[in-house]
């Protein structure tokens, strides 16, 4: 009873998705071009962005080397995606590092098992037109070297909690942004609107960004946050969100505290929001750059992603690392003792 229903259910989900074409993708616009769609309104008259959305994608931020076209053909996308889906659901090789992990497919955590917006672009970056992040300027390179030194001074990855990655520490993950990037799984958002506010809740790590829609000034320079401080306004059908005051402890692509991000959200279909962001940081790049990352209607709930509270992994890893060092030290002692 335990397994049979679920496995059947699992197969049905996977097969049905495959039969529909590219698994998990709904037909939609591949560009942000306007068409005969006007979003319904919230009771207070805002264009309605509410609901559950996924920004999962196979499109890389930068155009892959060797690719010059701005768009793939639908057939190329289908082939790329189904190839990736096959690799994701196939078994890893026993005795190799990738095999030391739960299989994502069983838990529905493959990228191919997530709703994704159709996107024929060869890169999320749309400006510059080569689809690449602009070169890092001299100040940015100096800062990158300083950060690398600081990281090295923290020691090896398993030396302490603080020397670990931010996601392993359960401090924050990339979907929070801004700008909001996709994660490997659970790349979902819940948008709720109230008079004067838009809330964007990222599933991991229950990161709720509340965007006020009034004319408030940019926040005081002395107050900075991991996710910066956001304020927004409507330009017709598009929500424009300006963010600044980043503390740069989780620097987006090597950026500085001077980074500002402008995000634009436009509902272009019942099941699609076009999301576009521009990054501006004279401390790192000599020009701003822009990417588009459409969001596909997903479903809820966004079950509580209490990460730090259940972070046995970090604890166990540190215990294991100290134990290994102790064992190595004892073994060395024994050798010396002979």
């Amino acid at each position: 009873m335990l397994g049979r229903t679920l496995v059947t259910f699992g197969r049905t989900v996977v097969l049905a998705a495959a039969v529909a074409g590219v698994p998990g993708v709904a037909a939609g616009q591949s560009t942000g071009a306007a068409q005969d769609y006007t979003a319904p309104r919230t009771p207070d008259g805002q264009p309605d962005l509410q609901g559950f959305w996924s920004n999962q994608t196979y499109t890389s931020l930068e155009r892959p080397d060797g690719v010059t076209a701005a768009y793939y053909t639908p057939e190329e996308v289908a082939a790329r995606v189904s190839g990736a889906a096959m690799r994701e659901s196939s078994q890893t090789v026993p005795g190799t590092i990738p095999d030391v992990h739960y299989d994502f497919t069983q838990f529905g955590l493959d990228r191919s098992q997530s709703p994704r917006a159709e996107n024929l672009r060869t890169s999320l970056i749309v400006d510059p037109s080569d689809g690449k992040i602009p070169p890092v300027n001299a100040e940015g390179q100096r800062r990158a070297a300083e950060r690398a030194d600081a990281q090295e001074r923290l020691g090896g990855r398993w030396d302490s909690a603080e020397s670990n990655q931010l996601d392993d520490r359960c401090i924050m993950m990339v979907p929070a942004g801004p700008p909001m990037m996709n994660s490997g799984y659970n790349s979902n958002y819940h948008i709720v609107q109230a008079p004067g506010y838009v809330m964007i809740l990222a599933e991991m790590i229950h990161d709720a960004r509340v965007v006020p829609l009034d004319d408030r000034d940019a926040p005081a320079a002395g107050l900075s946050q991991w996710v910066g401080l956001s304020r927004g306004h409507w330009e017709g059908e598009t929500l424009v969100v300006e963010s600044s005051n980043f503390n740069a402890k989780n620097p987006f692509r090597g950026s500085s505290e001077r980074m500002t991000v402008t995000e634009r959200f436009t509902r272009v279909a019942d099941d699609r929001i076009d999301y576009r962001f521009t990054v501006n940081d004279p401390g790192t790049w000599d020009q701003p750059w822009t990417a588009e990352m459409p969001m596909q209607r997903s479903r809820g709930p966004l079950f509580e992603f209490a990460c730090h509270e259940g972070n046995y992994g970090l604890y166990n890893t540190l215990v294991g690392a100290r134990l290994e060092e102790q064992q190595a030290a004892e073994a060395a002692e024994q050798v010396r003792g002979r």
Binding site: D159, A161, E162, C170, G196, Y197, A208, V210, L314
Partner: protein, 262 residues
Amino acid sequence: MAVTLAVSCVAATVPMSAQTADYRAPRGPDGNPDLNGLWQALNSAHWDVEPHGAGPSVVRDLGALSAVPAGLGVVVDDVIPYTADALVQRDENRANRLRRDPAIKCYLPGVPRGMYMPFPVQILQSQQHIMILHEFAGAVRTVYMDDHVPAPADSWMGWSNGHWEGETLVIDTTGFNGMTWFDRSGNFHSEALHVVERLTRRSPETLSYEVTIEDPNVFTRPWTMQMPLYRRVEENAQLLEFRCVEFVEDLIYGHLRKQPQE
């Protein structure tokens, strides 16, 4: 409702003023009473929900700034009706609170503790979902206003189903993992906790917050807490970041830090 309770109980809890009975909140655009805004409790319930005198800090070096302020209590009938065994557990919690209080480790505060911690709470109201967002640890509660289902799994902040009863938002929450406390004094519950909250606008700048606690594993009967919540009226008031995980890493993991080799 709050007025009725104040009259009929012989309680040391401070009854709220009679303005509740006369005040009718503006409607939100969804036609329901408007609870939108930033709200915060102004009492010492987060220290101890029962009536208590002032007391010393458990952290000597913080002296008077971490000493416990007195409180008239927010528990209707003053005393939480623990079972005999549970009272022993509560007292053990209290004696060991520096080590045991989950909020010290930046764990999500649970319900109702998150509502009266000394941090603002933002209510964002839409027809299908009412969000209750906490500055403390960035805790999030989603209150489902339709399509009510039971909790799919247990969590720190529980699973909340809400509905309107006239002027009152009633939130019914279950699916707790049993790992949170009600305050800094060891008052606790199990995973069988069932919380019913009633939020009613009582004036332009205050909310009446009444919460009934039920947990047959711990208490002999249901019991109720009651307090006003105050609107944060500063222009541009907003929730700020209190991303406390990095503040507690040394506390939790410091003993596992790699020591310098000789």
